[in-house]
Assembly symmetry: C2
Homo-oligomer: 338 residues x 2
Amino acid sequence: MKKGQISIKEIAKLSGVSVATVSRVINNNGRFSEETRKKVLDVIEKYQYNTNAVAKTLRMNKSQTIGIIVPDINNEFFSTIVHGVERYFFERGFSTFICHTDKSPEKERAYIKSLDAKMVDGLVCISGQEEIDDSLLSRNIPIICIDRRPKTRKNISIIESDHFDGGYKATKHLIEKGCRNIIVLTKQSNLSPVNDRIKGYIQALSEYSYTFDPSNIIRIPNHQQFNVDLTKEVIQKEINQGKKIDGIFATNDWLALNAVMALNELGFNVPGNVKVVGFDDDTIAKYFKPSLTTIRQDIKKIVEQASSLLYQMLTNKEFAADKKHIIVPVTLIERDTS
Amino acid sequence: MKKGQISIKEIAKLSGVSVATVSRVINNNGRFSEETRKKVLDVIEKYQYNTNAVAKTLRMNKSQTIGIIVPDINNEFFSTIVHGVERYFFERGFSTFICHTDKSPEKERAYIKSLDAKMVDGLVCISGQEEIDDSLLSRNIPIICIDRRPKTRKNISIIESDHFDGGYKATKHLIEKGCRNIIVLTKQSNLSPVNDRIKGYIQALSEYSYTFDPSNIIRIPNHQQFNVDLTKEVIQKEINQGKKIDGIFATNDWLALNAVMALNELGFNVPGNVKVVGFDDDTIAKYFKPSLTTIRQDIKKIVEQASSLLYQMLTNKEFAADKKHIIVPVTLIERDTS
């Protein structure tokens, strides 16, 4: 008999019980002795490794798997988190299924449903959405959101960097380095980390009694990793409209690197004429020439906190009732662009 | 009644048939009318969206999901492939579960098993191993291997770049640019792409009647994206031992970029004293200063070929019998390092 080919009828025959009893054992429903249970499970284990895994999932409502929803695996910050969470759970006997949403709301919903249908025990979600829809999940499984705060849903815990303090520290640093006309370079998005970083920028301006001008928040559409021409165009447009720029706080390192390249091509010296601070401390920040001043997110701590929290929720039902919001500190790393 | 909480007994009651009949329908085994089948499935669909998905998988042996095994998501070549395959299948109604093996043989085996247990319909495998063990899979599902050729297994199709021609083109280019002492910089690995690239290098040397010296294949252990100090150490050691180097063929772009930075720190001018060619044409190759001469892999074509082949194998049983080996051409991209 081939593996995975056995039917309930055959299981019944081989274990010497009725089909109905096999059904009861598989569904863990109704009366049967521990002896019967063992006999049936032994046959299932012997003859169908694979269907057994699915049957076990059905029976136990546990699959020793978790799901990770990630909006962009080409983003080093996200891929490092995915890497770390996967490693943590593999060491504890869990498989991790990664689903890539490509920043699409439709995909995010579809993948949350898929992972639920595959009976994952828990979810780590780096959501691209403002809300996570409760109705996508048929079971009340623990969810940890990293980096981004969805507005609703009761049973979600959140781990994120102190984005507000990051924006504040970056701006304060630029002011202390003598910048008087600091713009923010960011993406078109309404995600909580970006909003918090901008709030930190505004707070720093206000502490130094500088007026906040909303037109200084420059949003670049469809930003890819390298997009020097587009960045140049955007900065050129601002300068043409009479804006004086001596400082740029970019809300990620790639925006910052593109800004430095664009400024160079426009004839500005960095940090001589314009100082630039990024966000994330991606590996390239250190190796780029000039090396990039940036706000470092503590990915190691984010991974540790998120993984151990989810693991506790999976293994300790009481713990699962708590809803946590953990904020991880950030650090300014001063390099050559400021 | 809560979703996902219904038992086989309750399904039987609600659809007016016996428990044994429900089992037969779920297992698609034995005698029952189409009417009975419909009644049972309607109840399952109405009351248990989620268990239904698992039950349907059990019944149909189809789950509308595929798995991707990827050794390193921080590698742009791999993450772009994953991205492309996921997009192709999502458009055709399939969910993709990505499993990250971190180059570990143990993880690769565990994840192939996990994906099999979750009843994925097919696998795309970027294997870090020399062999894919048949016994890991309980079902005979189609597998496409990208980039790396496992030695065994019958039912595997392979899509890969013309690595041999890449190594040949890179070396020929360096020779034509005047290099006489060309070393290969590579990782410690016995994977087929690297071996083929080195064979191409040897072929080009032989065509120009240069002697191949095996000590010119320099293997750097544990290479990360940025590893300038280690690269410097390795190159310095070769020079101290009397090796003259005027050309480097690096088997990926990151090795090449690190080599350029290391050479600069050692006081060599690139391309004046030493010319460097990479492999992959990662995005950074174009933006690095100096921009990098490299061998471009046609990722778009690799994704198209792999995805459409797997899709045909999933939807056309006859097609599935064929075993294909598709080799995608590569191109030399000449830039500032040569």
